[in-house]
Each structure stands twice: as structure tokens, then as C-alpha cells.
């Protein structure tokens, strides 16, 4: 009996891998399993070779599995490409009337046609077959198919018929995987990091978003735009990233919570706008969904290469927060946290995600919206005359909404408390001091790193952002192998509070990150006096995994 099931769908771009993966993910989630899924896509619309991998388990999982129990081959190539990944006894579902001993041969396309469908409908045949092979209940599968295609009765009928035919045909092969269902009740959503983050933005009361499409950030604007009517948002595709951030700043000035999202290359175009947010003291949230650079790099893959860039971006000096949520559940929480910090301190807040976090699916505990903190920091009762830059506690000024006071004056030149241009040294000094006065209070707000494992272990594996899942699993496996390590994961990466790192002193700290130059290692040694023993780095565009970390940890390899 397996305590977990690893499933891989392989095929060309355009063959519907994502739809099939989504369907199966939801199927197992409904069945009460924990699911983690991630994708490996090339930067193209049709052809090439992509895969969608699902890990189905009885306990929460945050990384891909290492070996495949069941491979679904939709392009005739996957059996060859992924053969080395199969566990002994693993099966391959092939679209063919006959196959080898490890193969479950089902003529998926023919079955689809026989059920009234076309080639594309073989995905539903495959869904039915996979469900059957992995012992899933018809009563979970068939309603799910119906709901998925609820909007289009004709499509529903065909896909339902195909799924049923696939289910039946698979049962008839007599093959199956001995996969035990967990006993947990059903009821967790199946979503990815950016969907969770977007829900968090809605919960935070975000009202305005402008962005320019860029992988892997595009899902956020796409999702929010779909929710715009229900939630009362204005969501606009900008002509470029420069416009996007300046729109977000205009919206923020006018009084609502505003967001933009992009990847590193698009963020590069927002840097002047970020500095403007710093000068105007306007709250704004900017998501950077990282992908491998420089320049266009590998558009559909993952990296954590923009950490120091995000922290240092912008001419002149102004405070900011940089958050880097660890998992989809944390991404949900990071959004209201970001909006809150932005508005409380009137600073830009950057959320660093990456393709791995953005597009990996999992099944978190259902979000508790009633616990989301939405504090409205906007001025209710304005003094007259209102001065936008009168200093308040911690250097934070009163934030009025235009139209509710005499005038709200914001200015990108150096200005006085009223917001008007100045040239003199004394006012300049006062304004610089006021803007930077927020830093101590901001630093005090930063949450300490996540920690897991024995705090007395000599070895510490420290990562940040989406590395957390792989780190935890590596930690557990190392502990099980008699090599105790404590695992640390930073989620609020700027500003750093050196006190948080005191427990690292005298220990052997290995910093694990998805980049080549060891940016977090550098940050910690420069700003928090952490002595870093070595780094484990991955920069091939593929996500960190427990196996990768352990191999380099034990082998002493520094990739």
C-alpha cells in the first residue's frame, strides 16, 4: 500500500495537460487527499514537451515527489522521456490499443470518438481511466466532470460520456495501483500560489489593479479581472509596466488599495515608479513573480534571482517592505499583510513570488476570511488646513482622501509638509529624516522566520520564499536518516531584524536558494551578521526539491 501517489501527465503544449491536471487535482482534493502539483512548461503555445505532476498524499505535501507511480503519456514521447522516473511497478497509461507490460494500453482517442467526442476529449477519457486505476469513486468523479463543464451542456454531455467510458475501460484492464485513500474528510480547496495570493488581495480590500501581462504573473490580473464585478474592482491591462505602476499610484492617491504585478523584467520598468511611491509616501503593493533572468531568460521557469534587486530598486533612499511567502497558504496571508503594511506605513510593499510558487497547486486548509485584518488607516476626520506631509508618530503622516479635505497635494520633487516644491536644505533634511523615521517601527513589525526541526541541531538549512516546502521535506528526511537539522524559512525578507538571527550564532548555516550568486546568504551576512557556512544553489530554472538539497548537503556540493 502506498501512502502517497505520484502521477505525471506528459504531453505537448496545447494538448490540455493543465485542464486534465486541474481536474485530477480537484478529484483527489474532493476525495480528502492532500495534493501538491506542479508543472514544467516550455515557452510555447503548441508542441514541445510539457508535464504536469501531481503528488497525492495523506498528509500535507509542498514539493513534487521524486518517483512516478503512474505516467499518462499524451504525446507518445512521455514514456521515453520520463521512463527513468518511474518507480518499480509503476504504470504508464498510453493512448494505444496495445502496450508493454508496464503499460496500461487504452485507445483513448478511439474511446473518446466512440463516446461522441473528438481527440481533445481523450483528456476526459484519461481522467476517468486515472480515477479508476487509482481506486477513486465514481461518485466523486462524475459530479466533478459535470460541474466543470456546467456552463456548456453539450460539452458536459460529451466529457461526461468520455470520462465514464475511460473509467469503464480502465477497470476492464484489471490493472490498478494499490493506493489507500486517507480517512480525512474532504473539503480543501485545490489552488495555486497566485490564486491564493489573489484571494488574499480580494480579502484585503484591494480595489484597483493595473498590470501588463508577463509570465508567471499574468494569472493574478486574469483572476482579479474575473472577480472585478463581484467584488467591485477596477482591473485594467496597461499599455506597459510603466503605466501599470503609475496607474496604481494614481489609484492609491485617490484613496483605494492598489496593486500591480509583473515579473522581474516588467518590474525593471517600474523602478522609477517605486521611487515615486517612496517620495509621495503612497501605499502600493507590487508583486514580482520571479523567473530566471537576466532579460527574457527562461520565461516559464522558476528562480529566486531578484531579491537584492527588489531591495535596492529605485533611485534615492526610501523604506519598503519585501515579503516572500513560502506556500500558497502563506501567499494568501501575505496579500492582506502587504496591504496592511503598505497603508500603515505609506510605503511600497513588494511581494516576491516565483513561477514555482505561482503555478504549483496544493490543498491548504480552507482560508478563514474572518481572521483577515483589514484596518482602514485613511483619515476620517481631517484637520483644516490639511497638510499631506505633517509628520505623525513614527514619521507617518495623516493620509487623507482627495475630496474630503481642502486639498491633497503630493509632489515628486522634494517638498514641504504641504506637499509643495522646496529648495532649502533645512526642509530637505527634515523630509529625509521623516521618511526614514519609519524604518525602526517597520523593522519591529517584521515577522521572524519560519522554523521547523530541532532548535539545538548544529546544522541549519535556511531558505526563503518558495524554498520552504523542499527545505522542510529535506529536513525531515535528513532527520530520519539520523542527521538532525533545523530548517529556517524567511517570509518577510526586508527590512531584516538582526535579532531574529541570534539563534543562528555558532551554528553551521547552509543557505539554500534558487539563484547562482547566493543573494540571501549575502543579505544575511551583510545586514544581520549571520555567518554563512555555505550555499546550496539551483539556477537551472527547475524548482528546489528535497532530493536536490540533500544531495548537495551531504555531498558537500555547492552547485
Amino acid at each position: 500500500m502506498l501512502y502517497e501517489l505520484n502521477l505525471k501527465l506528459g504531453g505537448e503544449a496545447g494538448q490540455g495537460l493543465q485542464a486534465l491536471g486541474l481536474l485530477l487535482g480537484r478529484l483527489y482534493a474532493r476525495a480528502g487527499c492532500h495534493v501538491f502539483a506542479n508543472q514544467d512548461n516550455e515557452s510555447r503555445i503548441r508542441g514541445g514537451h510539457n508535464s504536469y505532476q501531481l503528488r497525492v498524499a495523506s498528509r500535507p505535501v509542498y514539493t513534487m515527489g521524486e518517483a512516478i507511480d503512474l505516467l499518462v503519456d499524451l504525446d507518445g514521447e512521455s514514456r521515453r522521456i520520463h521512463a527513468p522516473e518511474l518507480v518499480p511497478g509503476g504504470l504508464v497509461l498510453v493512448d494505444s490499443a496495445s502496450g508493454g507490460p508496464r503499460e496500461v494500453a487504452l485507445p483513448l482517442t478511439e474511446i473518446a470518438r466512440a463516446a461522441g467526442g473528438r481527440e481533445i476529449h481523450r483528456n476526459s477519457v484519461a481522467a476517468g481511466a486515472v480515477a479508476a486505476l487509482t481506486g477513486q469513486d465514481r461518485d466523486t468523479l462524475f459530479p466533478l466532470i459535470d460541474e466543470t463543464f456546467a456552463a456548456d451542456p453539450a460539452a458536459r454531455a460529451i466529457n461526461s460520456a468520455c470520462a465514464r467510458a475511460g473509467y469503464r475501460a480502465a477497470l476492464e484492464t484489471g490493472k490498478s495501483l494499490p493506493f489507500a485513500l486517507p480517512s480525512r474528510p474532504a473539503g480543501r480547496p485545490y489552488l495555486n500560489g497566485h490564486e491564493a495570493l489573489s484571494l488574499g488581495c480580494l480579502a484585503a480590500g484591494c480595489k484597483f489593479m493595473a498590470a501588463y501581462p508577463m509570465s508567471p504573473s499574468t494569472l493574478i490580473i486574469t483572476y482579479l479581472s474575473g472577480q472585478a464585478d463581484a467584488f467591485g474592482l477596477v482591473v485594467e491591462q496597461a499599455e506597459d509596466e510603466v503605466a501599470a505602476i503609475n496607474m496604481a499610484l494614481g489609484a492609491s492617491y485617490a484613496g483605494v488599495r492598489a496593486l500591480t504585478a509583473t515579473s522581474g523584467g516588467g518590474f525593471a520598468l517600474m523602478v522609477e515608479g517605486l521611487s515615486l511611491a517612496g517620495m509621495l509616501e503612497l501605499p502600493v503593493v507590487v508583486v514580482i513573480a520571479q523567473r530566471p533572468g537576466p532579460a527574457t531568460g527562461l520565461p516559464t521557469r522558476t528562480e529566486q534571482g531578484d531579491l537584492l534587486f527588489a531591495i535596492g530598486a529605485g533611485h534615492g533612499e526610501f523604506p519598503r517592505f519585501v515579503l516572500a511567502p513560502a506556500t500558497a497558504a502563506e501567499a494568501f496571508a501575505a496579500a492582506p499583510r502587504a496591504f496592511d503594511l503598505a497603508e500603515r506605513f505609506q510605503v511600497p510593499v513588494i511581494i516576491l513570488t516565483d513561477q514555482h510558487l505561482a503555478e504549483s497547486y496544493l490543498t491548504p486548509e480552507p482560508f478563514d476570511f474572518s481572521r483577515v485584518n483589514v484596518t482602514d488607516y485613511r483619515l476620517k476626520q481631517a484637520a483644516s488646513p490639511y497638510h499631506r506631509y505633517d509628520p505623525g508618530p513614527d514619521g507617518v503622516s495623516p493620509l487623507a482622501v482627495p475630496g474630503t479635505v481642502d486639498a491633497v497635494v503630493v509632489d515628486s520633487d522634494e517638498h514641504d509638509a504641504r506637499g509643495h516644491i522646496i529648495e532649502d536644505a533645512a526642509t530637505r533634511n527634515a523630509m529625509v529624516a521623516k521618511r526614514l523615521a519609519r524604518i525602526p517601527a517597520m523593522r519591529a513589525m517584521v515577522s521572524p522566520p519560519l522554523r521547523q526541526g530541532p532548535p539545538e541541531a548544529e546544522d541549519v538549512l535556511l531558505g526563503w520564499g518558495s524554498g520552504w516546502g523542499a527545505l522542510c521535506e529535506a529536513g525531515e528526511k535528513l532527520a530520519a536518516a539520523g542527521r538532525p537539522v533545523e530548517v529556517w524559512g524567511l517570509q518577510e525578507v526586508w527590512p531584516l531584524n538582526p535579532e531574529h538571527f541570534a539563534p543562528l550564532s555558532g551554528r553551521r548555516v547552509t543557505v539554500v536558494e534558487s539563484n547562482a550568486t547566493g543573494q540571501m546568504a549575502r543579505l544575511l551576512s551583510g545586514w544581520a551578521a549571520v555567518r554563512v557556512a555555505r550555499g546550496i544553489n539551483r539556477y537551472d530554472g527547475r524548482p528546489l526539491s528535497a532530493a536536490y538539497i540533500i544531495r548537495h548537503f551531504e555531498g558537500g556540493e555547492t552547485a
Partner: protein, 284 residues
């Protein structure tokens, strides 16, 4: 809160600059539209033109060089009860900010863009701007400008802008009327205002313009005829037409968002948990 539109004593402009006249026309026009200063937002970039908002007692968003238009579009979308104007220069709007202008025409927010077009970069001391004439000599373009000037009016007509007009800082009354008309117009209005720069543009002076500008006679031009508008837009040289060149009613950007039908975006409450639960339910 009514105190009218007050102008500051101090400005950073050169004596004789066309910006003074534009400021006066703006204040007159806003007064004529019966607006309260605190319901008006002046949005600007950087340049001499872009300093104008500092010299009137309204709400001000004085942002980055070239980026006033996207900020203004968003401000209007967030609070469509406000009257939003952009005061910008030819460099600000047609140079650094050219892409935003192109796409603002497509969006058609209900804002008014006043381009103080002095055909030169004033604040940075006299380089060529996108509207500088071919051959115009500057310190940087010492052999004369080698690029052909952008014709903002023709561009706006080609982009099917909702209201396109040309004004002249030498005619405050006419300009005030034009600005008032632009502010009242629903949709994006572009007013290209020819503004002599006494410090850096010794070519396109008050006198130069006075010899050339004219308002087409009543009834001789139909601003709803796009090809005619284009032809008039190309009229340049000895004769430079002023006034409304093109006008077309078009769907307004912020009127197309369902979120805004019940009131301004800024007045909407934070979402309740029921709504959020419903959104989450879609992921099961």
C-alpha cells in the same frame, strides 16, 4: 469650502512666459464650470508646464516626467466624481509619455489633457522637443533638429480621440473657453496649447503665432467629420487653425466598469466574508 480658484503670487516661471496665461485660463475655465477647488485634481509630470498645479489651490498629483496620464486615468476611475485635468508639456506628454497618450486615446477616460506646447524642453534648458520644427537650432541640436515634428492634432484625430482642440496662450479668453469646453466634454479631451517660451524658443514667439493663428469661421468646419478634421489638422505653416478640430462621442473608460455603476470606487466598502467564501468555493 468654496474659496474659488486662487493663484499663488510666486511661481518659478520666467517673466513673459506663456504659462502665466495658461494658468489664468485654467482658473477662469474651472470657475466657469462651477467646480469646487477640492473636487478638482490637477495631475502633472515634470517640466515647466507641470509646475502649474502648484500655483493653484486644488488637489495635486505631481508625479513623474511623462507619467501624468496613467495616474490621471486611475484617479478618475477611482473617484469619477472628481474633475481631473492633466497639465503637461510637449516633452512630458509627446516625448517621455508618448505611449501613455496613445493608449489613453483608446481608453477614453473623462479627463482633460492640457499640453503646454512650447516646442522645446524648458526646464532642462532648451533641448528640442517632439514638436520642435525641423531645423530648429538648440544647444544640443546645434545643426538643427533632424526629426520631423510630431503633429499632435493629426495624431489625436488618427487615434479617434474624443475631443481634439488647439489653443494659443496669446488668447486667454479663447483659451479659457476652450478649456471649459474640454472640461465639460465627456471623454478624453486633448488641448494642444501653443505656448511661447521666451527663454528657449526664439522662433515660435507670440508674434510668430499671432501672424498665423485663426479660428475657422463658424460653419466652415465640421468637427465630427474625421477626414475633414485630419485635413484641418495638417494645416500648418502660414495659417494655424485654433479651436475644436475633432469631436466624437465614444464610450467613456470609467463608465464601462460594472464596479462603478453603484457609485465611486473609493466609496465602496471592503468585501464581506460571504463574498469571499463564494470565491473560494470555486476552487473545490
Amino acid at each position: 469650502m468654496t474659496k474659488g480658484f486662487q493663484l499663488t503670487e510666486e511661481t518659478a516661471w520666467c517673466p513673459g512666459c506663456g504659462n502665466f496665461a495658461i494658468r489664468q485660463a485654467v482658473a477662469q475655465a474651472l470657475g466657469r464650470c462651477e467646480l469646487e477647488p477640492n473636487r478638482v485634481v490637477l495631475v502633472s509630470g515634470i517640466g515647466q508646464a507641470a509646475k502649474l498645479p502648484h500655483y493653484i489651490n486644488t488637489n495635486i498629483f505631481n508625479g513623474l516626467h511623462g507619467r501624468a496620464v496613467p495616474a490621471a486615468t486611475a484617479i478618475k476611475a477611482v473617484n469619477h466624481d472628481l474633475t481631473v485635468l492633466v497639465t503637461t508639456g510637449d516633452g512630458d506628454c509627446y516625448g517621455e509619455g508618448g505611449n501613455h497618450l496613445l493608449h489613453a486615446f483608446r481608453r477614453n477616460p473623462d479627463i482633460t489633457i492640457l499640453v503646454h506646447d512650447n516646442q522645446v524642453y524648458g526646464l532642462t534648458k532648451g533641448q528640442a522637443s517632439p514638436t520642435s520644427e525641423y531645423g530648429f537650432v538648440t544647444k544640443l541640436q546645434s545643426h538643427g533638429v533632424k526629426n520631423e515634428p510630431l503633429n499632435p492634432v493629426a495624431l489625436a484625430v488618427a487615434m479617434d480621440a474624443s475631443l481634439v482642440a488647439r489653443g494659443f496662450a496669446g488668447d486667454i479668453q479663447g483659451l479659457a473657453a476652450l478649456i471649459a469646453l474640454a472640461v465639460k466634454h465627456r471623454g478624453l479631451s486633448l488641448v494642444d496649447i501653443r505656448q511661447p517660451c521666451v527663454s528657449f524658443n526664439k522662433l515660435n514667439t507670440y508674434a510668430w503665432y499671432r501672424e498665423r493663428v485663426y479660428y475657422p469661421e463658424e460653419g466652415t468646419h465640421d468637427p465630427s467629420d474625421r477626414v475633414a478634421a485630419f485635413r484641418l489638422a495638417l494645416t500648418w505653416g502660414d495659417r494655424i487653425p485654433l479651436g475644436v478640430i475633432y469631436r466624437r462621442e465614444r464610450p467613456v473608460f470609467e463608465e464601462q466598469f460594472a464596479a462603478l455603476t453603484e457609485g465611486t470606487l473609493v466609496s465602496r466598502p471592503y468585501p464581506g466574508t460571504a463574498l469571499l467564501e463564494k470565491a473560494l468555493a470555486a476552487f473545490y
